[in-house]
Subunit: 202 residues, 2 copies
């Protein structure tokens, strides 16, 4: 039997990526599915759709519902109460570069912490200091990691990841892609994606 | 204890309204929640958002995912395989007028049948003949019902229902609204909405 795996595409400014990142670890473990954490940038993908900001800003009613929905789901999942970041969408570029440069073992914890800072603590993850604090809290040498994250080759890796997402048909975040190329969009589809990944490998 | 109830806003051209309509009966019964079926028109609501067609047509990737998602969910829910209607979104005006004129006891079965014709049989529910067949199959005198559906007072009732949806903050379909005004958008939120309706009444 092949090892079941699932590509998890997420963007740090995305509220539903936060929920998926908070949930995916235990659910994937229970399902016997290996998760590949793939941070990417929604900006270029939204731009290609003609959007200059989040759809939740374009349609205010949709935005209002999204924040309320996030509060309700956070409560249901046992996550801390939601605190909105100072601006939405946040600039997740530095955090995404750092997540890209970290190795597979360190990326999930860093990513979950960044999301927690953004949507539970309501901090601006675009602030370099917030990223530094998260790295330091996880025992990384933050100056070294940030320097590596901002090298051209790592910027290019993040760009390639976004291109990979686009090629997989990703148009929003979070998205999940299984080995056969099936695309599942949204935190609500995490369970379905895991089921499919497991069925594929069986 | 107050009777738990839930407003179910649906539009016949909406694929996820189909899924919700197919599921809500047994789920609401199990939850002890009374459902008020409220057909409305998305057209005027989308128009107020500056949209002239479905968001699934505006963004082709989103549209492709939606149809695939619909197939997967139909399989998961034990519904028949999806057959796409000849055009999307369909013109659900006549069906919505008929659903409006029918009484509370007849509205759910008619609505489920229209959705089944649209998304399981792939028929054009904008065709008067399809609406007639559904009515006849349920034992209604279809000529009488359609005549009543097209009277001005019934057209006005449907318009008022759409205004009611708008006033409740509805921006897409399906939507669920509980007695305290909480809005839940999307088939994915049906269970959460039922839980909330039940908790409110307890």
């Amino acid at each position: 039997m092949a090892r079941a795996s699932l590509d998890f595409y997420y963007e740090f400014a995305s509220t539903y990526s936060y929920l998926a990142a908070a949930r995916i670890g235990p659910l994937a473990e229970a399902a016997g599915v290996e998760v590949v954490w793939r941070p990417f940038l929604l900006g270029p993908i939204f731009a290609a759709q003609g959007l200059t900001t989040s759809p939740f800003n374009v349609h205010p009613e949709k935005g209002r519902h999204m924040w309320r929905d996030l509060e309700r789901l956070a409560a249901r999942y046992g996550l801390p109460p939601v605190t909105r970041p100072p601006s939405f969408p946040a600039n997740g570029l530095l955090a995404a570069r750092v997540a890209t440069v970290l190795n597979d073992a360190s990326r999930p914890a860093f990513s979950r912490q960044i999301f927690h800072r953004a949507f539970a603590q309501g901090e601006d993850i675009g602030e370099r200091e917030v990223v530094r604090q998260v790295l330091a809290g996880l025992g990384h040498f933050c100056a070294d990691v940030i320097e590596a994250a901002e090298r051209q080759e790592n910027k290019d890796r993040l760009r390639a990841q976004t291109e990979r997402a686009k090629a997989a048909g990703v148009f929003g975040a979070p998205s999940f892609v299984t080995a056969d190329g099936e695309l599942f969009w949204g935190n609500d589809r995490l369970e379905l994606a895991l089921d499919h990944a497991r069925a594929l490998a069986a």
